[in-house]
Symmetry: C2
């Protein structure tokens, strides 16, 4: 039998990672979030910072033509994508788990019994939340969000050719600001 995997895609600051962790704890299964996958991928020889940045930028830089530097073959980002693809596939083969981010829904689409979740919230909710969770920075919270949103959408679209946040790609999508974090955990758990 295929393992059951909950994949959580989320807007930055929506609490998707928190929801994933809470779900995993309640279900007694591991939760792999971006940081953990970065660390594993690091074994590939890239620095953690490089991997973290690469995961948020569409190849070739966000504003340049994504294909411009591919004339000479795969880029570092492509190589990293392959490693990530392999790691996520192996995690899902090993056991049931929650995976947050990294296009896991796309990577596992024919490989595991996935419950595909997308978490979003409005700008105000997320702006308050990132200041609370990540602290203040020089850049305004809303500017940080806009920039993160754009990068995630571009990265996701580049490797999966799917529209970021399109409800058709998910079993359930929830507005965590309106529904509340605890209630999101509760509803998703009922579907697992």
């Amino acid at each position: 039998m295929k393992n059951r995997v909950i994949t959580i895609s989320r807007e930055f600051g929506s609490g998707g990672r928190t929801i994933g962790k809470m779900l995993a704890e309640e279900l007694g299964i591991p939760c792999y979030d971006a940081e953990l996958i970065h660390k594993i991928a690091k074994e590939s020889g890239f620095t953690e910072k490089y991997i973290k940045d690469a995961g948020e930028y569409a190849p070739g830089g966000f504003l340049s033509s994504a294909f411009s530097n591919r004339i000479f073959g795969p880029t570092n980002e492509d190589y990293l994508w392959q490693i990530q693809y392999k790691i996520i596939t192996e995690l899902a083969e090993k056991e049931s788990c929650v995976i947050v981010g990294r296009c896991a829904d796309y990577i596992l689409k024919d490989k595991a019994d996935c419950l595909k979740v997308f978490i979003h919230a409005d700008m105000d909710f997320r702006a308050n939340r990132i200041v609370e969770v990540y602290g203040e920075t020089e850049e305004s919270p809303k500017q940080r969000l806009k920039s993160k949103d754009k990068r995630r959408a571009a990265y996701h679209h580049f490797y999966t050719n799917m529209k970021w946040g399109d409800s058709l790609n998910y079993d359930i999508t929830l507005d965590s600001g309106r529904v509340g974090i605890d209630k999101c955990v509760n509803l998703i758990r009922q579907l697992y």
Copy 2:
């Protein structure tokens, strides 16, 4: 206090209307679906068939430029939109209810306490369902679905300028094929 309204947008054949009716029955509130709103709008003087067709076509015809016939002022479709806008606003002012389709989520966005729901399902699930519910026709179920999907998306986008099915516009979206009709009713009810 504002009335609480559940608005259900849905892909054709996804069971959104059935979910709306079941929810309304469980909650003991009325459910207004497209047909009922058509009938009320009919009092405007348009035939029911005309109204039904107009609700599925973007003004000016789906493939023509939507603005081409507006040089001479509002079209019949625009007039119908105004009536529909007024009817839906009045329904929401009167009492708590479920409203299926007709861009009610958009119309009520600042007027009522709305729980905004979108229901979708894959092609196979919907193709089986429309044959079951609406019977066979000469056109294949999948062709009917494709044509309906396009028309609804175009109509919705024309009047609301929102992307059809974009999860960001809804509190919850559900894949009724994967989740099941009964479970959808159950989850939405918990959010009400």
